[in-house]
């Protein structure tokens, strides 16, 4: 099984020479499809054999040798409850993305497919790596293919969009690199026999604790990198731009997978490493998340371009995920994890659908459409399902995630304020407004534009790539437990250990001489708060 995991990660990379060597365009496309489908099939046993009860322990571990006797930097990959679903989502989206760009790549096909495959390997690596330096390497590697995907195959303003995307995300992650190195040496001084370690299993355990002052700075450094990636308001400005200019496949991967690296990093790294800072900053992060939810929705409402509308809806949806993560109770965090998958499915589908209509009409402006439901019945059904899933209609996947998040946030002790959940809930209503309004203007009404009268309905290929997504939208919506079970135990454990760890750090801090701001920010002297936390964990 360990080998299987490694094969899954590197198979797309190994597929690149196959594409470059293929003689004609069809062979290139088929080999790319073959490679991604094989990756998906090989990854399935990883899901079936996953030990759900012990989801907290990393499974299928591969551990490489240390870089040197004192530096514990090593190749370390494995899957656990936090990463499994996202890992599977990535392999699942692989073939879909390839099929979606079957006829829409006008130039340099080999490069395009090679970049998609490289991106696949990088994304799988991010979710599977458990050594944070390896995580960082994959995290950064994923920027390179996306840079070229947007820059070469993107829209008219692609150069500015791709530079903004690249540099914006890079600035965040470089600051994180400094934090990462600091943590590495700090942890190395605790671990016996080495002076540097970034092994997540050690860092997240209760043996390793970081002082309150350091936690604050480190949390800010890491959170900045992840929030830019998510993107959380006010770091979202690169996203609509990149989404609008990216080719369809690029938008799908960006929305479905790359944005999840940010939210995933918040749970994977920020929570277990900096629990005190995580909990104290939670209300502030939640405030930004709620602003993002409402702001994203309001801006989406006034968009004239369908793709831009979907892009802003991403800002709104990922606000929910961040809100759920920082609520820090099992319900909300579980909701956040399943919502990451949901957003991947529904927003991925929406970008695919926008791409399909763009391929036909070469426009994405809402005003150019209207009444096309009559011409494209199957398209309408698919579009409707994806729209409703995105809005969060009960019975479809979006509802499950949003309900859990709102429910968890409502009762969250960290927020200690029901306003967050109430305001966020208004985001659901706004989502219905902007999505349904857009749907109505595009699909219904009189069919006036001559161009639109010539539209043809979806072909078998397009139906074939949307159907799997739709199946999962229903499956998650109707029987979510099939998916939530993977992360449940780990999330519960993680929250308990993090809370305990934060109390232990607080306890140690009482004996230390901390600066005034740290004392008051973390409430080091307040006995009552820590006791109430203790009660709530039980």
């Amino acid at each position: 099984m360990e080998t299987l995991l490694n094969i899954t990660i590197y198979l797309p990379l190994l597929g690149i020479p196959l594409i470059l060597l293929s003689k004609n365009e069809n062979m290139k496309k088929w080999s790319a499809l073959l490679v991604t489908s094989a990756t998906f099939l090989i990854s399935l046993p990883l899901m079936f054999n996953f030990d759900v009860v012990n989801s907290g322990a990393a499974q299928y571990l591969t551990e490489g040798g240390r870089i040197s006797s004192t530096l514990d930097i090593k190749y370390l990959v494995g899957l656990d409850g936090l990463s499994l679903l996202l890992f599977m989502l990535t392999t699942f989206m692989g073939p879909i993305v390839i099929i979606s760009s079957w006829n829409s790549v006008a130039k340099h096909l080999s490069g395009y497919l090679a970049m998609l495959l490289l991106l696949q390997t990088a994304s799988l690596g991010v979710f599977a790596s458990l050594d944070l330096l390896v995580f960082y390497v994959f995290f950064e590697l994923s920027l390179i293919p996306m840079y070229f995907l947007i820059g070469i195959w993107g829209g008219s303003d692609r150069i500015r969009a791709t530079l903004k995307f690249f540099i914006y995300t890079l600035v965040g992650s470089l600051i994180m690199l400094v934090g990462l190195i600091y943590v590495g040496y700090d942890a190395g001084s605790v671990m016996s026999g080495v002076n540097f370690t970034l092994d997540w299993r050690f860092l997240s355990s209760d043996i390793y604790q970081i002082g309150l002052v350091e936690q604050t700075y480190l949390f800010l450094a890491f959170a900045l990198a992840f929030c830019i990636k998510v993107p959380l308001f006010p770091f979202h400005t690169w996203l609509p731009y990149a989404h609008t200019e990216a080719p369809t496949a690029g938008s799908v991967v960006l929305a479905a997978i790359m944005l999840k690296m940010g939210t995933y990093g918040l749970i994977r790294v920020c929570l277990p490493l900096f629990p005190n800072a995580f909990m104290e900053f939670a209300p502030y992060m939640a405030t930004l998340a709620v602003i993002g939810i409402i702001y994203g929705a309001l801006v989406a409402m006034v968009q004239k371009d369908v793709k831009k509308l979907v892009a802003y809806s991403s800002v709104s949806h990922l606000g929910f995920v961040v809100l759920g993560i920082f609520a820090l109770n099992t319900v909300a965090v579980q909701g956040a994890i399943i919502q990451m998958v949901n957003h991947g499915l529904s927003t991925g589908a929406l970008f695919l659908i926008v791409g399909m209509i763009y391929d036909r009409r070469h426009t994405r402006m809402i005003k150019d459409f209207g009444g096309i439901a009559k011409k494209m019945p199957i398209f309408t059904v698919m579009f409707m399902i994806a729209t409703l899933a995105s809005i969060g209609l009960p019975g479809l996947n979006g509802f499950v995630g949003e309900f859990l998040i709102l429910n968890g946030s409502f009762f969250s002790e960290l927020y200690d304020n029901k306003v967050f959940a109430i305001l966020a809930a208004s985001g659901v209503i706004l989502a219905a407004v902007y999505m349904l309004w857009m749907f109505q203007r595009v699909m219904f009404g009189p069919l006036e534009n001559e161009e639109n009268k010539k539209l043809v309905d979806l072909n078998a290929r397009e139906i074939g790539l949307l159907v799997p997504l739709v199946i999962f939208m229903f499956w998650i919506g109707i029987h979510p437990v099939n998916f939530t079970k993977y992360s449940e135990n780990q999330v519960t454990e993680l929250i308990i250990t993090s809370k305990e760890k934060s109390l232990a750090v607080l306890e140690t801090s009482k004996t230390e001489d901390l600066p005034e701001w740290a004392n008051s920010f973390y409430g080091v002297d307040e006995e009552t708060e820590s006791e109430s936390l203790m009660v709530s964990t039980k």
């Binding site: 490489g64 040798g65 870089i67 040197s68 930097i73 090593k74 190749y75 340099h108 050594d131 330096l133 390896v134 960082y136 390497v137 950064e140 590697l141 920027l143 390179i144 840079y147 070229f148 820059g151 070469i152 692609r158 150069i159 791709t162 530079l163 690249f166 540099i167 890079l170 600035v171 470089l174 600051i175 690199l177 400094v178 190195i181 600091y182 590495g184 040496y185 540097f196």
Partner: protein, 476 residues
């Protein structure tokens, strides 16, 4: 006296010097004969072979304490010879196509390399000065190679005058140190270090001399002009091998001759210089349209990153700098090599970034390699440049210099823009007009491919399960 051992210790230097004499003789007997190039390549390969063999041995003195060999000095030799070898491979075709393929160039390269090896293994201020001057004088000649154009003469003269000026500083510093301690031996100076004014002034002047040679701000003024005027492959040589040699000498001097004496806080001085060098180099590079000038400013910035490692002043920091120089050498020679390839095409001035539009798809292999080298220079994983930067910043963080590391990463984030800009032209813009692109020779392509493979290999090497390069960098 163990004469044989002494000779063995300096074997790479002797090989290159003898080969240099041979090349000059060949040129004197049969002007323009091709064998000079082959003698050069062969001798460098042999020297590199002996250099690699002595990797991992402990640092020892030779020539009655004038030189050291093994340890970090051996690693320095390998970097210098590797850089030189690839520059020579690339130079043959490039100089041919600009009609400047004189055999004297190879002679100069070999003599300069011999000087660099002496410099990177100096254990005495006398041998240090000897190595430095042998290297510099040869480089002055190379800078003026294109003598018919105004630019060439300007660059060479500027380099020579400022170089001579900085040598004055270095020599003055050496004299003051001798006056303060009564010895020119580097460990001897370290042992007799005191905080009297003579010693401090000597150390400061010595540092200025070094900082000039590695083109740290504010001693960088000559760099862009000289780099632009020199034939590109020789620029690569100047930018990598000579910098590597000077940094290696700095490591030896800083770690052994200048211990922390009251009042002599060179760590702080170097970190300030590192900060302004990184910021200045990267910001000026942002607005350059000429790729060679852009790479010149980028090499200034890279000297800044290396200075970050030096100012940590820990064994870890010194090995980080050594690794960084290795990384910098392979990726920079690669980048200059691809630029040289573009320049060889007639019709447009391909050192102007605007004229690179659309070339990435026209010659896919060159385009991919250029992107690879540029991503590596920008410090994006999984390339060797990232590993180098990582070690350097890690050393600084471990030495409690977190702000320095933060400035460093922010500067390198800014640098990404100008590296990406080249790729924007190569790939994202349409070609202005159709130009015939020549096919590089097998050797030329092969040299670049090897550099590209090294760039990727040493980028992922740290997580590979077997022993790494870093373990070979020992002994200060």
């Amino acid at each position: 006296m163990d004469y044989l051992g002494d000779l063995q210790a300096f074997l790479p230097g002797i090989i290159t010097a003898v080969a240099g004499l041979a090349v000059i003789t060949i040129e004197a007997l049969k002007s323009g004969h091709k064998s000079a190039y082959w003698v050069t390549s062969f001798s460098l390969i042999v020297a590199l072979f002996f250099g690699i063999q002595s990797l991992g041995t402990p640092l020892q003195e030779a020539f009655s304490g004038m030189l050291v060999h093994g340890g970090i000095a051996a690693f320095g030799n390998v970097i210098i010879l590797l850089g030189t070898l690839f520059c020579v491979f690339l130079s043959n075709d490039y100089l041919e196509s600009i009609d400047h393929n004189y055999n004297e160039v190879y002679g100069m390269i070999l003599f300069a390399t011999s000087g660099m090896i002496c410099l990177a293994g100096a254990n005495d201020l006398i041998s240090l000065f000897l190595g430095l001057e042998t290297m510099s004088i040869c480089l002055y000649v190379m800078a003026g190679l294109i003598k018919n154009e105004k630019q060439g003469a300007e660059g060479a003269l500027k380099y020579f005058l400022l170089g001579a000026f900085s040598t004055g500083f270095l020599l003055y510093g050496a004299a003051l140190l001798y006056g303060a301690t009564g010895t020119t031996s580097i460990p001897g100076i370290g042992a007799a270090a005191s905080s009297d004014l003579l010693f401090l002034a000597g150390a400061a002047l010595l540092l200025i001399g070094f900082l000039f040679k590695v083109s740290a701000v504010p001693f960088h003024m000559w760099t862009p002009d000289v780099y632009q005027a020199t034939p590109t492959t020789l620029t690569a040589y100047m930018a990598t091998a000579s910098k590597a040699a000077t940094f290696m000498a700095m490591i030896l001097v800083l770690s052994r001759a200048l211990p922390s004496v009251e009042g002599l806080d060179w760590q702080a001085v170097l970190s300030v210089v590192a900060i302004i060098t990184m910021i200045f180099g990267n910001i000026i590079a942002l607005v350059q349209d000429n790729i060679k000038r852009m790479l010149a400013y980028s090499s200034i910035a890279h000297a800044g990153y290396a200075l970050v490692g030096l100012s940590a002043a820990t064994p870890e920091g010194y090995s980080a700098v050594a690794f960084y120089l290795f990384a910098y050498t392979i990726m920079n020679v690669g980048a200059f090599g691809v630029v040289a390839y573009y320049e060889r095409n007639k019709g447009l001035d391909f050192s102007d970034v605007n004229n690179l539009a659309g070339l990435g798809f026209k010659k896919p292999m060159m385009g991919v390699m250029m992107s690879l080298f540029l991503f590596s220079l920008a410090g994006i994983p999984p390339f060797v440049g990232f590993v180098g930067k990582y070690y350097v910043f890690a050393a600084a963080i471990n030495a409690n210099m977190v702000p320095l590391a933060i400035v460093g990463v922010l500067a390198s984030a800014a640098s990404v823009y100008y590296y990406l800009r080249v790729m924007v032209y190569l790939y994202f813009r349409e070609a202005h007009k159709e130009t015939e692109m020549i096919d590089p020779s097998f050797l030329y392509k092969g040299a670049l491919v090897i550099l590209a493979l090294l760039t990727v290999y040493y980028g992922i090497e740290p997580i590979l399960p077997f022993g790494g390069l870093m373990e070979l960098i020992t002994g200060f």
